[in-house]
Symmetry: C2
Subunit: 337 residues, 2 copies
């Protein structure tokens, strides 16, 4: 986030602002509160692109009817520790929060809960539901499919989704939370490089001729991003999409490609008891692994190593103190909603 | 596999050969049969590096006592659909086969089975256990940690494992089986480029100065490979290692780093009912997704797209007909075992 045109807004103030807008647009008090909390927390944690910066677009999808603000998810089938739910195109955040809660309850009873959710909407920041599980002392794994936005390896057209994958592991000294889309660079990151007129450090997409390029303007124009690890991320994206569609009984990216906007997604929420170790043993094991990786000699160009979730916590603490940086144009736009 | 110095050996003959050697080295008939089958099938499927090419090394680890040929895995704890097993350093292949069987049985009863296996040995080709689940009509997910063999993003020393991840989805027209280590290139692949005196198509490791390099000789010398997607694969490797260690109650890569060889690994085996769709609906959904990705326009350099597992089946069919290509030096070495 560039430092010019930024105002710092206290977390509480931001949440109150979003709450008011959501209620104005017809959300019930309880739903509006949950949504305002998640949007604000995502920005608090530094995930601006899926926090405040996406709020206007969310309101737009409600107005367009892609998001059905009064719908609730309904249980279709269950078998053992698995459940299949229809999201009924309710707000993706609310659906996801309740599905991870269901998974956690099942994990308490049976070690694992696995919920397939079909016909839902964008869950915004996937990490939200990983942190949710970790805060309850559970391993949380979730992933979503998306509309196609990457080229499969060997092809030159967009056919697979960047299908974010979240893996969260609870720990007293700070949860380990991996929250990653399968594209090498997010569109937000590519935009940052374009604004600075810099090349990406590694290829991030294809040009008109189908060649790999580091040029952010070209990638933004063609909207052809590439997966992490080229052929490897391409395969991983494909199987995560299939898992999401099968376990939820919902649509795969190949069908979502034909929708008017990115809705009707398929998602999976898994909660797992974090093994059979005591809390102390578990924290000891994770601490050792973290220390081992963090004591590595620095990369010549680099700034040291971080465990997944570490920077998030640092940003959260900083933003709680100083306020959340919000682009003034975005803030003005939100105030008009 | 280079075409010079290759003999083609029929599948059955190869299996008989390995069976005899295993029995000669003290394996019971039943264990020797399973091991010979898996080693031979891996080469049949084109995964030569973890099939016949690794057989001599396997016998070596038995002789060294890293692999305890007469041990069996023992159940430590179970809770709901989760089980924790001690592998007792029995042959990794045999441990893995029985763990995936346990997971499948649990999934039949409860939708999912999740087995943590600690203190086991190299499972050779991870895909074996994915195909095993898919053949039984189950989704199979498994992963293993390894000794550290990659540099974490931001560091210049080896600290994380390439932790192969397998995701298998059953389908009548051909199972979808992703079997990938998290390194951008395997050592086997890097060796191929070194033999041809060619640069890798993308950076595959670090040089002495800690800079990314495409030079295969330098990577083989330094043994510093890099993860897929740089920072992303680095994080994914780290969390898979933690999941394996926690769910199995076993060691993480940070501890395995101190062992005399790569043994005492932690692994996770998950079997999942493939959703609530009928077999027909499921096959239809997967076929549509496969067709969508396969009808993409060709990449300028490329040869079209493949779904994970597609090339494996083609190689299997070819090798069944013509025989399995085995390097003559390797074959001579095996005959002397």
């Amino acid at each position: 986030m560039p430092s010019e045109n930024i105002i710092l807004i206290p977390f509480k103030e931001l949440k109150e602002m979003l709450l008011g807008i959501l209620k104005k647009h017809g959300f019930s008090e309880i739903k509006a509160k949950k949504l305002a909390e998640v949007f604000s927390r995502s920005s608090l944690d530094g995930i601006y692109s899926h926090g405040v910066n996406r709020f206007s677009r969310f309101i737009h999808t409600v107005k367009m009817g892609y998001v059905e603000k009064d719908q609730e998810p309904t249980l279709i089938y269950s078998f053992g520790v698995m459940e299949q739910w229809n999201g009924n195109r309710a707000p993706g955040i609310l659906n996801a929060l309740s599905m991870m809660d269901r998974a956690i309850e099942s994990a308490k009873r049976s070690g694992i809960g696995c919920i397939g959710l079909r016909n839902t909407n964008h869950w915004m920041r996937g990490g939200t539901y990983g942190w949710q599980a970790a805060e309850k002392g559970m391993i949380g794994i979730c992933f979503t499919n998306t509309k196609p936005n990457m080229v499969p390896w060997g092809g030159s057209e967009v056919r697979i989704g960047n299908n974010p994958l979240i893996i969260a592991i609870p720990r007293k000294k700070g949860h380990v939370v991996l929250d990653m889309a399968l594209s090498q660079f997010s569109f937000g990151k590519i935009q940052e490089y374009a604004l600075k007129h810099q090349q990406l450090p590694f290829p991030g997409g294809l040009d008109e001729q189908g060649n790999l390029t580091r040029n952010p303007e070209i990638i933004l124009k063609n909207e052809k991003t590439i997966p992490i690890g080229f052929w490897k991320g391409s395969g991983l994206s494909f199987v995560l999409d299939l898992l999401a569609a099968l376990i939820s009984g919902g649509d795969s990216s190949s069908t979502i490609a034909g929708f008017a906007d990115e809705y009707g997604l398929s998602q999976v929420f898994v909660a797992i008891q974090p093994g059979f170790l005591t809390d102390q043993e578990r924290d000891h094991l994770i601490d050792e692994a973290v220390n081992y990786v963090k004591t590595v000699s620095g990369f010549s160009e680099g700034e040291g190593t971080y465990y997944p979730g570490e920077k998030t916590r640092k940003t959260r603490d900083l933003n709680l103190k100083r306020g959340i940086p919000v682009n003034t144009d975005i803030w003005e736009e939100i105030k008009k909603l």
